[in-house]
Symmetry: C2
Subunit: 234 residues, 2 copies
């Protein structure tokens, strides 16, 4: 495969502010497979530039003539097409089981994190994205962004309860996937990087989850740690 | 290994009513490994009979001189000591990832199921267990069993929301572990068998989760389907 792989990656007004949890899953999966990637700063309203994928959301990964989308489907593609590189799943059972972790992150963790950080997002978006973001998110939550933002503290407390199963696992092993990170970690860590890039640490300092976040920040040559954030992170 | 394996298995007043979700995990894992087991009907207050395990809860699995406890640790033991039998985890990454599923079932699913069925339990217990059960569970929930039971309908609605990540997975694959059941399925299914033995179907008939429950009831020669229940189940 000699084609350059290209990733359409959600950005804020600042081209370098890359905060999509789903795009981070793909960035980490590409790094895990050792696949070089050229990222393209993309905004919510730039539907035309990814129209060839047949839908309107990122990540979109372009490999030759293939336009791939949906972070889970991209991970499966990478696993199947780069079989010599380190495995994302550790076999068929690991793949199936990682899908549960992925679903939990998408359906439980992402909404819980969104309630903690959504108020910070509009000001960081490209101006052309702001109406789109407000309209779609207020429809999804059924309330104004301001009313969600006003409940940030209880949302953070609720999120930390939501982390219970992750905490229970990480108290016993270094990564969700075991001794080394793999896609089960990428699937979950995307949400933590989302919040971090936007200036929020989700887990308390003494939480086993925070120690894992640090390990994930160091993984893959510090890929996630070196990302541009809105505020300097310790 | 020629020793007979013995499982202390929680029972109601009826010796044959075996309803512990954690014991069901072990029953299914033993069946998966093809390990014959002799189960012993055990009640909550029979701490003396399992004292050699060094703690007071079941499942307790006795293999020769070994007294094993904690369903997850028992599964790891079975995987490591019966390596020729079908794998419970499909390798190291699958094992680590299944631990997340197991934690989610223990920390999120079990309490949500308990809120749906706890009111049915005291009448089915051996009389000597009733005070123990009420005292420990009312302390854990911080309220009376009657007040929990009065909210059965909203608890069932909440449980069905809790099932979202499981539903998302089972809409796409036959088992949590993929094409065939493995420990990630046992870890979750224990809760469904707990409710079923006590007379409650947790998932709606048209839920992808219900189709999986039926597959799990048929697995291992119908081990779970053939269990004694308090009411005939369709």
């Amino acid at each position: 495969m000699s084609d350059t792989v290209r990733l359409y990656d959600l950005a804020g007004e600042d081209d370098d502010l890359r905060f999509s949890p789903n795009c981070w899953r793909t960035r980490l999966a590409l790094a895990h497979k050792g696949v070089p990637v050229e990222t393209v700063a993309w905004r919510f309203t730039e539907k035309d530039s990814i129209a060839r994928s047949g839908q309107g959301k990122v990540p979109v990964l372009v490999v030759g003539d293939l336009w791939l989308y949906e972070s889970w489907d991209i991970a499966e593609y990478l696993e199947d097409h780069f079989p010599q590189a380190p495995s994302l799943f550790g076999g068929a059972v690991g793949r199936a089981t990682a899908r549960f972790v992925n679903q939990w992150a998408s359906e439980v963790l992402h909404p819980a994190v969104a309630r903690c950080i959504i108020g910070d997002i509009p000001a960081l978006l490209h101006p052309k994205d702001r109406d789109y973001f407000r309209t779609t998110r207020e429809a999804a939550f059924g309330r104004s962004l301001e009313s969600i933002a006003a409940e940030r503290e209880p949302a953070l407390a609720a999120l930390r309860q939501t982390l219970a199963p992750l905490r229970g696992v990480l108290a016993r092993q270094h990564f969700v996937a075991g001794a080394e990170p793999a896609y089960a970690d990428h699937a979950v860590f995307g949400a933590f990087q989302w919040a971090r890039v936007l200036g929020t640490k989700l887990a308390a300092a003494d939480d086993a989850v925070s120690a894992w976040v640090e390990r994930m920040l160091d993984a893959y040559g510090g890929l996630a740690r070196n990302a541009t954030c809105v505020a300097p992170m310790v």
